[in-house]
Amino acid sequence: MSSFIKRYDQYLDETYYYIKHPSGLEIYVMPKELSTSFAMLTAKYGSFDNKFAKKGGATAVMPEGIAHFLEHKLFDNEDGSDTFERFAEMGAFCNAYTSFDRTAYLFSSTEAHSECLALLLDFVFSPYFTHDSVKKEQGIIAEEIKMGLDSPYNRCFHLLTRLLFTDHPVCREIAGTEESVMQINREMLYSCYETFYSPCNMILTVAGEFDPDKVLSVVNKRIPRSNQRELPREHVPLRRTVKERRGSETAEISKAIFSVGFRDDITCVSGLRAMRRALSASILSELLFGQTSAFYGEMLESGLADRISASYLTCRDIGFAYVNGICDDPEAVYGRVIAAISDMKRRGIDRDAFARAKKGMISDLVRSFNSTEEMCELVTDCAIIGCDAFDYAEVLRGIGVEELEFLLCELYDERFAAMAVIEKNEKSDEEKESNI
C-alpha cells in the first residue's frame, strides 16, 4: 500500500487509512461492510468567509450567502449534463450543504463506488458559471430563504446568534437574504471558487466499499499535485461581550419558543485542546439541562417549559452553549436556567451523573459507526479542527470533574448570556376569529 497511515481502534473495531495528497488534499478511507458507501468532499469555506484578501492585497467583500450560492452552482456542467442525473444513472444519490465553516459535497451509493467518487471530484473541480444560470438560481434560492423564514425554530436560533455575536459573521444567515443573493454575479463566484476551492483547503472522507489505493488513483487522475498555498482568510479579533441581552420576534405559533445562550471565550481553535473543550462543554450541557438533570425534571413537573434541548456549538473562533424549548413565560424559564447553573456551581458536579453522562457520549460515538454517512461526518468534523476521530474516546475518558467545574464557571457566566424568543403572534389569532 502506498504511503497511507493506517490506524486501527480496538474498542471501536474500526480502521481508517489517511494520506495527505501532494496537492494538499487530506484523504481518509474507512473500509466498512454496509450496503451503502458514502463519500464527502469538504471545502473549508462557509458563510464565515465573506471577506478575504485578494491577490495583491485588496480586501474582497462578498454578498452574504455567496458560499451557499456557489454550492448550488457547482452542480452545473459545461456540457449541459445534469449532475444529479449522472449520479442517479449509477443508482447513487448526491447532495451538498453549506454551513458556517464549510461546504460539503457528498454521495451515497450501493454500487459503482469508484465511478461515483470520480464523478464527485469531476464536478466539484470543474466550475462552470454563466450569467443566465446565476440569474436563474436567484429565484430558487429566494424560495429557499423564504422557507427558512417560515421555520420559527430557525429564526430563534439565528436571533440568538445575532444577540451573542454582533462582531462576527455567525450572526448572518448562511443562505444570505433575498436582497444579498440578487447582488451575486458570475465573476464573484469564480473569485470565491479560485480562492477557497484549492485541494489544500479541502478534505475527502470515504467510508464503505473502498480500497485506499484505488481511491488514491481516482484522486491522482483528477487533482493536480501542486497548488499548495496559504488561504487569505479574514481574521477579526473578538472581544467576549454581549450587548443586547434580549431579542424577540413574532410568528404564528402555538407557544413562545425560547433559546438561552452563553457565549464562550475561545482561545484555541484547533487540535486536541479544542476537541477537549468541545467535549467538556457537551458533557456540561447534558449535566445541566439533559434528560437526567434536575432542571429537566423540574420543567417536566412544573410544566413551565417543554421540548427542552441543550447543546454546545463551536466553530472556528466562536462557541456558545444554549438551551431551547417552548413555554408560556420565557422570563420565568430564564430565571430557572440561571438558578440551575448557580445551584451546580454551589454544590459541585455529581460524580455518578458525570460518569453516566460520559457513558452516554461513548455510546453516541460507537453508534455513529453504524452508518457510513455518520462516519464521514465525524471524521470530517475532527479533521477540520486538525484532530483525529480515533482520539475522541481517549480525550473523553481523560476529562476530569475538576476541569468541568472550572469550565462551568467560565462558560456559564451570566454577563455573557442572552435570550432569544419567538413570541406567539396574538394579532393573527384575533384576525382568524373574526374570519370565523
Binding site: 474498542y11 461492510e33 454496509l34 450496503s35 451503502t36 445534469d82 444529479f84 442517479a88 444513472e89 449509477m90 443508482g91 447513487a92 444519490f93 451509493s109 450501493t110 454500487e111 436563474k136 438560481e137 429565484g139 430558487i140 424560495e143 429557499e144 423564504k146 422557507m147 423564514l149 417560515d150 421555520s151 420559527p152 410568528a251 404564528e252 405559533i253 402555538s254 407557544k255 419558543i257 434528560q291 437526567t292 438533570s293 429537566y296 425534571g297 417536566l300 413537573e301 410544566g303 417543554d306 421540548r307 417552548i326 451523573a353 453516566r356 453522562a357 457513558k359 452516554g360 457520549m361 455510546s363 460507537v366 453508534r367 459507526f369 453504524n370 452508518s371 403572534n425 393573527s428 382568524k432
Partner: protein
C-alpha cells in the same frame, strides 16, 4: 435478508432479524390496535406517560439515569398509523454487549427496563399517578397545538384531514385537544391495562441476537404479565375515492405558500405488482432530484426550492408538496398537472425509467443499513398480512415495464388541492 418468526403464546409474535452489521441491538415491542377517533388521544397520551416512571424507576430522571448506565440505551415510544391500524411502539436501541467494559449486562438490563416501561408503570390507587397524568395531558395539548409551527408539515396534515374526512386516513395520531379534558388518571390506566393485555403484540429484534437468544431475552419482557389476546388484526385495503375534487385555501402568517395535493390510487402495499409499478411511477413523477417535478418545476421554471411527491402505499395515495410564491399558484398547478400527464402518456425515455428503478432499488438496499428501516419494512408487511423480502421487492421493481408505469399513473385521480398562504382570496381565484 431473513426475518425469522416465532409465536411466543398469548398473542405475542417474535420476529428476529439476525445481522452482524450493527454495533447495536434493537428491540421493538409493538402493540397493534384499531385506529379510532374515540381512543387515539388516550393512546397518544401513553407515549409520554409510560416514560414518566416505572416500578423501580419512579421518575423520569431515574429512568433516564438507568438508560445512561446501560451505555446510553435509547428508549423511545411512538405511535404510527397503518391504514385502519394504530401501532404503539416501545423501542430500545442499545450498544452490543461487547462494548460493555464494566461487566454491565446491557441487553438483560434493557429487557428488564422494557418490561417495566410497558407493563409496570407508576400507579396510585388503581390508576396512573394523577400528577403525571395531568402533566402529560398538558404536554400533549402543547404538542397538538404546536402542529401549526412547522407550516409545511401543517399543510400536509390538513391535506390528509380534508382528503379523508371522517375516514381513518383523516385521524390525527397525536389525538385531539378537546378529548383531553375527559381523561382521568384512573380511566387512562384502565384503558391502558386493556390495551396491553388484549392487543396483539409483534416484537422485533435486529442485531447480533440469534432467534433462540432473542426468544430467551424477549420472553423475560413478558415475565409476570397476564395476556388475554383477542387474536391478530390486519390492515384493510385503501380508501374509497371521493366524488369530486376538493379545493381549499387557508390563511396564515407565512412568507411562502405551502401547497399540498392528494391523488388517490387503488394500488396499495399488498398488491405486489401494482405496488412496484406505482413506486416507479411516483419516482419518475416527483420523488427524486431527477424527477419531472424537480427538473421542470424547480430547475426549468425556477418556481420553487422544493417540489416533490410521495407514495403513501398503505392508504393508497400519492401526495405532492411544494413551497411556492403565493402569487404563482396557478402556474405551479398547471406545471404539476402537465408533468403527471407526461408520466401517464409514457412521455419519458428508457433512461428515465432505468434511473427511477435503480434509485428505488438503491433506496431499499440503503434502508437495510438501518435497524429502524428494517423493522418498518417487515412490520408494514406483517400488518398487511403479506410476506415479502427486500430481495423479492427488488426483483419486482426491476420487472416493471413502461406500460406498467403509465397504467399506474393513469390510475391516479386528483382528490384534494390544499394551499396555505398569506392571502386566501387571491389564492381561491387561482385554485
Amino acid at each position: 435478508m431473513l426475518c425469522h418468526t416465532r409465536e411466543l403464546g398469548g398473542g405475542v409474535v417474535l420476529h428476529t432479524v439476525e445481522t452482524n452489521k450493527f454495533k447495536t441491538d434493537c428491540i421493538s415491542v409493538n402493540f397493534v390496535m384499531p385506529l379510532e377517533r374515540e381512543t387515539v388521544t388516550r393512546v397518544a397520551l401513553l407515549r409520554g406517560l409510560l416514560l414518566r416512571g416505572s416500578e423501580g424507576y419512579p421518575t423520569f430522571e431515574k429512568l433516564s439515569a438507568r438508560t445512561d448506565e446501560l451505555y446510553g440505551a435509547d428508549v423511545s415510544i411512538e405511535t404510527s398509523a397503518f391504514g385502519n391500524l394504530l401501532v404503539l411502539s416501545v423501542t430500545a436501541v442499545s450498544l452490543a454487549g461487547r462494548y460493555s467494559v464494566d461487566g454491565t449486562d446491557i441487553i438483560g438490563g434493557v429487557c428488564d427496563l422494557l418490561r417495566r416501561i410497558c407493563f409496570f408503570p407508576v400507579t396510585e390507587n388503581g390508576g396512573f399517578s394523577p400528577e403525571y397524568t395531568q402533566s402529560e395531558k398538558l404536554r400533549l395539548k402543547d404538542e397538538i397545538e404546536a402542529k401549526i409551527n412547522d407550516k409545511g408539515e401543517y399543510a400536509g396534515r390538513r391535506l390528509g384531514e380534508i382528503m379523508y374526512g371522517d375516514g381513518y386516513g383523516g385521524i390525527s395520531k397525536l389525538g385531539y385537544a378537546e378529548d383531553l379534558d375527559g381523561i382521568t388518571a384512573t380511566g387512562a390506566y384502565l384503558f391502558y391495562r386493556g390495551l396491553v393485555s388484549r392487543c396483539p403484540v409483534h416484537v422485533y429484534t435486529v442485531g447480533g441476537m440469534t432467534a433462540e437468544e432473542a426468544e430467551y431475552r424477549v420472553t423475560t419482557i413478558f415475565d409476570g404479565v397476564e395476556r388475554d389476546c383477542d387474536g391478530d388484526i390486519h390492515a384493510i385495503r385503501g380508501h374509497k375515492r371521493g366524488v369530486s375534487v376538493k379545493r381549499v385555501a387557508e390563511e396564515m402568517d407565512v412568507k411562502q405558500g405551502k401547497l399540498a395535493i392528494g391523488y388517490r390510487t387503488s394500488a396499495v402495499l399488498s398488491d405486489g405488482r401494482d405496488y412496484a409499478s406505482m413506486l416507479v411511477a411516483n419516482e419518475i413523477f416527483g420523488s427524486s432530484p431527477v424527477s419531472k417535478l424537480f427538473m421542470h418545476v424547480r430547475e426549468e421554471l425556477n418556481l420553487c426550492y422544493h417540489c416533490g411527491s410521495a407514495y403513501r402505499a398503505v392508504n393508497g395515495a400519492v401526495t405532492v408538496a411544494a413551497g411556492i410564491d403565493c402569487t404563482k399558484l396557478s402556474i405551479v398547478l398547471e406545471a404539476i398537472e402537465e408533468m403527471l400527464g407526461e408520466v401517464q402518456r409514457g412521455d419519458f425515455d428508457d433512461g428515465e425509467l432505468e434511473i427511477a428503478k435503480k434509485s428505488i432499488v438503491s433506496g431499499v438496499r440503503a434502508g437495510f443499513d438501518s435497524a429502524r428501516y428494517i423493522i418498518s419494512f417487515f412490520i408494514a408487511r406483517e400488518l398487511c398480512g403479506i410476506s415479502d423480502t427486500p430481495e423479492a421487492l427488488v426483483a419486482r421493481i426491476l420487472d416493471v415495464s413502461r406500460d406498467d408505469v403509465c397504467r399506474a399513473a393513469r390510475e391516479l385521480s386528483l382528490d384534494t388541492v390544499y394551499f396555505l398562504c398569506n392571502d386566501k382570496k387571491a389564492a381561491e381565484e387561482q385554485l
